[in-house]
Amino acid sequence: MSSTDRVASISQHLAPSASAAPASAGSKSNLAKSPKSPDDVVIIAAVRSPLCKGGRGAFKETHPEYIMGEVFKALIQKTGIEPGIVQDIQVGNVLMPGAGVTTARMAALYGGFPNSVPAVAVNRQCSSGLATVGSVAAAIKAGYIDVGIGAGVESMSMYYGPGAMPTDLSPEVMAYGPAAEVMTPMGTTSENVAEQFGVTRAEQDAFALRSHTLAAKAAKEGLFKEEIVPIKLADGTVVSADDGIRVPTAELLAKLKPAFKPNGSSTAGNSSQVTDGAAAVLLCRRSYAEKKGLKPIARFLGFSVVGCPPTIMGIGPAVAIPKVLEQTGLGINDVAVWEINEAFASQAVYCVKKLGINVEKVNPKGGAIAFGHPMGATGARQIATLLPELRRRKEKFGVVSMCVGIGLGVAAVIENEVL
């Protein structure tokens, strides 16, 4: 009954958040503070396969449609969802032939979905596995569907290498600098970020060592068990753990030669690994979850994609994260756990420093430097990794973000509902 409360109430009515436009139009939002609503997009489950070394790991002879299909089977089993009610399945990938669409459809059918359930392949490069989740959430918000799956898969054992990039390009377009920049090799973009923003080799190695150490510790403590679904291979072998995690020492990391240019600072030890894996996230509208008896574990709050120069694509999270925080009305300190993809230590270090994030909250179970970056799967994989960690810490807000190899940043805000 204090007068300050009344002033606060009136000013709340008049705050810029009062804009008639949706929150994404740049006005101050209070989305993250809004109570549960029947229209919320909620996550029912997020699971992933083990991540295995490209060319040498457990999936080196396993096809992506098989890995993805097995993950779908596990998702159906874990949630108890009737497969026929799913209204769209989106599968992210980056390198697959035919843009990955046959892989997506075959994996869905093999995974146990009837042919009445549609499928699509999505390629937003390294963010594909998050772009699918964002698109499914948007379709639910728009009312096009009630329930869908955002997923992603990559077999870098099968489809990584010289064939991945087009070679015959329009001379006219290549003569136009800004367009030609899209072809900048990833290693070069990492060196560009390190040089332009002064990220030292020592900083990068220290961040990499942290990632390796945290991942090894988390694996030893069994912290990945909740998110990983074991995959039974055709020969009967069951793969149930990531196989790329190593525990190097600081000395060992310091000794590695620059991988992309002489006197460079990005090495095999402080860059993400080439990896195979798949992940999937089941989303639906809250009212639909209630109707079908599905239990929400999190709320999907916001999603942003922002462009940046392709030559320094690694800064992507530093431009996308402010945008998604503005969209949801959160501040940096409201976020308890950050899953920021470690394409390269150079760009991860830059983004964390630039945004003023407490590094303790970044990738607390390690990241792609330690266990790999199966490009099309990574975004969905990060959600699967984020949620158990938010539950373990009894915290609410998490952010998933990554840089994207054509000059984009992508970020999403997720609110844990199992406190």
Partner: protein
């Protein structure tokens, strides 16, 4: 491209000054054609007293005058006329109390009901049973009262935020709707609502997101129509008692706007922009078709024909 048709010019208003008090709510008497009441507060309702004004007006003689006034220790944020006793008015106050004033008794309320623990922002008399009224408060609760008792009959605590508006259906004896800051219908706080007087399933809401929305209560997953035009939050919305397609709204953009909901677009039919401060109250006369009253923080009550 063809633009919207030009809006008709505002009609001249009868103006009454609520000097020293800023208007929060205005309601025509359901019994007397020429009587209207205004709930108001000093210091913009932030701190200080409240006053209930009862006015007599005569449009043909261009005359409006105060016949009664009642003072309260805190701002008065809403009022409703009794539907059973033509001399009684219920007001809701910032101190959590609800008072029933009788025009035959000076100074003191005939009933002082104090159960809400925070500002009471709405009171509304049942239109069908006519023997109960309902209140909504910033303590998140809604209470049902009878003028015959000092205690509430029931309490609802479903809302998770301030309740701004509680309104009985004119079609059903036991149904009311409530609007609250818990953003169930709009992307932001819902500040006001009203029932369509001709369609028992239709209601309108207004809120902080600047919009007025028309709903069919049988399917609340999506609004039937969104009326856009207000530049700031909308504080009050009312459905015409004389036409099922006419809606009035008032808000922080200092305007009262009239809408035709039978039009899918170009549905803004009139803007009353003569107030110079936030417009918080608007009401339709039950007796004279097209007669509207507004009250605002500019300490004036406007009576005019649309």
């Amino acid at each position: 491209m063809q633009g919207p048709p030009p809006l008709p010019p505002p009609s001249p208003s009868l103006i009454f000054r609520t000097s020293g008090y800023q208007g929060y709510a205005v309601e025509f008497s359901p019994f007397f054609e020429n009587r209207v009441a205004v709930a108001s507060a000093a210091n913009f309702g932030i701190a200080g007293n409240g006053r209930l004004f009862v006015l007599h007006f005569d449009s043909s003689n261009n005359n409006v005058a105060q016949t009664h006034s009642f003072d309260a220790q805190d701002g008065l944020f809403d009022l409703c006329w009794s539907e059973a006793n033509e001399n009684q008015i219920v007001v809701s106050s910032g101190d959590g109390s609800i008072k029933v004033f009788d025009l035959g008794l000076k100074d003191f309320p005939v009933l002082n009901l104090h159960e809400h623990t925070r500002e009471v922002f709405s009171v509304n008399w049942n239109l069908v049973r006519k023997d109960v009224f309902v209140s909504g408060s910033w303590d998140h609760s809604i209470k049902l009262w009878s003028p015959d008792s000092n205690h509430s009959i029931s309490t609802w605590k479903e809302h998770a935020a301030c309740v701004y508006s509680t309104v009985w259906s004119p079609h059903s004896p036991d149904r009311f709707a409530s609007a609250s800051g818990d953003t169930t219908a709009h992307t932001n706080e819902v500040l006001s609502l009203d029932w369509n007087k001709y369609d028992p399933n239709c209601l309108v809401t207004a809120g902080v997101d600047h919009s007025v929305k028309v709903w069919d209560i049988r399917n609340t997953s999506k609004d039937l129509l969104t009326l856009r035009g207000h530049d700031y939050a909308v504080r009050r919305v009312k459905c015409s008692p004389h036409a099922g397609n006419i809606v009035a709204s008032a808000g922080y953009d200092m305007t009262m706007r009239m809408w035709d909901t039978s039009r899918g677009f170009n549905n803004l039919v009139r803007v009353h922009d003569r107030h110079t401060e936030f417009v918080l109250g608007v009401d339709f006369s039950l007796f004279v078709k097209g007669l509207v009253a507004t009250c605002a923080w500019d300490e004036t009550v406007h009576l005019f024909h649309v």
